[in-house]
């Protein structure tokens, strides 16, 4: 048996953690689907693609200030949705 597989079987905490992270990622994916397209685009470019606000502004044509406002609303909406899923 490969060493990694043996270690995974021997440490249930680690596999539980991985499962929890997958579950959280799934919940976030569902929650992202509930955002407006503009909020979702800003969130994905900032936190998934890792772009700074200035680069997102160049790509989308929106100002940095409006992007921040969009994102801050997205944070609140995501917080609410993630609570609903639990």
């Amino acid at each position: 048996m490969p060493e990694d597989a043996a270690e995974a079987l021997a440490s249930p905490e680690r596999s539980d953690g991985a499962m929890e992270r997958r579950e959280q990622a799934r919940e976030l994916e569902l929650a992202l689907g509930q955002l407006t397209p503009e909020q979702r685009e800003a969130f994905v470019l900032k936190h998934v693609a890792g772009m700074p606000y200035e680069e997102i502004a160049q790509r989308t044509g929106a100002t940095v200030a409006s992007l921040k406002m969009r994102m801050h609303r997205a944070y609140d909406r995501l917080r609410e949705l993630m609570k609903e899923y639990r």
Partner: protein, 216 residues
């Protein structure tokens, strides 16, 4: 709806750190960071087999007779020419060259395209990253003028389970039209790029590639 404190939102934006928050906001800050921790940032990696394939093509090209002939043609050499001519022939030749030059200058010469640089007879290529958010898609490709609109030529790779698909292509300098193809059938314009009408009722995204980079 219970909203995050503005300072917690600044923490999520990366403008503040957890230590910058007052003690009463730490728990809220940690909750917010847990939310972001669920973002799947699995990096998109290229297969090591790709490097091997590219290098195999490069080596094959280097060994080919056509490649050797091309290098022989391109290698600078000193060439000495000796001519025995009569003086009147030199003057006649100079006059003919002047007349040809005058004719050429009288014609309209097309201006070079701004931003396009040619070097050594071949155009430069620039790496361009394509990103599409398409949750639920099973397959995403990018097709455009740079790959003869072949919907199977450039597949995007999913970034984990985030719904984000990406690929990086080397595009020649110039303007290119393209669109994403989701699940082999649905054509989707790039929401973050300008689009033009293709003349057949559809829209194509446009990217301008210069030696300095890609411009949407």
């Amino acid at each position: 709806m219970k909203t995050f404190d503005l300072r917690v939102k600044q923490l999520l934006d990366g403008d503040l750190s957890l230590a910058d928050l007052p003690p009463e906001l730490r728990a809220e800050g940690e909750e917010a960071l847990r939310l972001l921790a669920a973002v799947d940032r699995t990096p998109v990696t290229l297969s090591p087999a790709l490097d091997a394939r590219v290098m195999a093509v490069v080596r094959r090209h280097a060994k080919s007779p056509a490649g050797r002939a091309w290098r022989w043609l391109n290698t600078p050499r000193d060439v000495e020419l000796r001519l025995r001519v009569r003086p009147w022939a030199v003057w006649a030749g100079a006059l003919a060259a002047a007349a040809a030059l005058a004719l050429l200058l009288g014609r309209a010469v097309p201006a070079p395209v701004p931003g396009v640089q040619a070097r050594g007879g071949t155009r430069d290529s620039v790496f361009v990253r394509f990103v599409l958010y398409a949750p639920g898609a099973r397959r995403v490709a990018v097709a455009g003028t740079f790959n003869q609109w072949d919907r199977g030529a450039a597949l995007l790779a999913p970034a984990g389970t985030s719904g984000v698909w990406t690929t990086t292509l080397a595009l020649p300098v110039g303007q290119h039209q393209y669109a994403f193809v989701v699940d082999g059938a649905r054509w989707v314009v790039d929401p973050s790029a300008p689009a033009v009408d293709d003349g057949f009722g559809r829209r194509n995204s446009v990217v301008a590639v210069t030696a300095e980079g890609a411009h949407l």
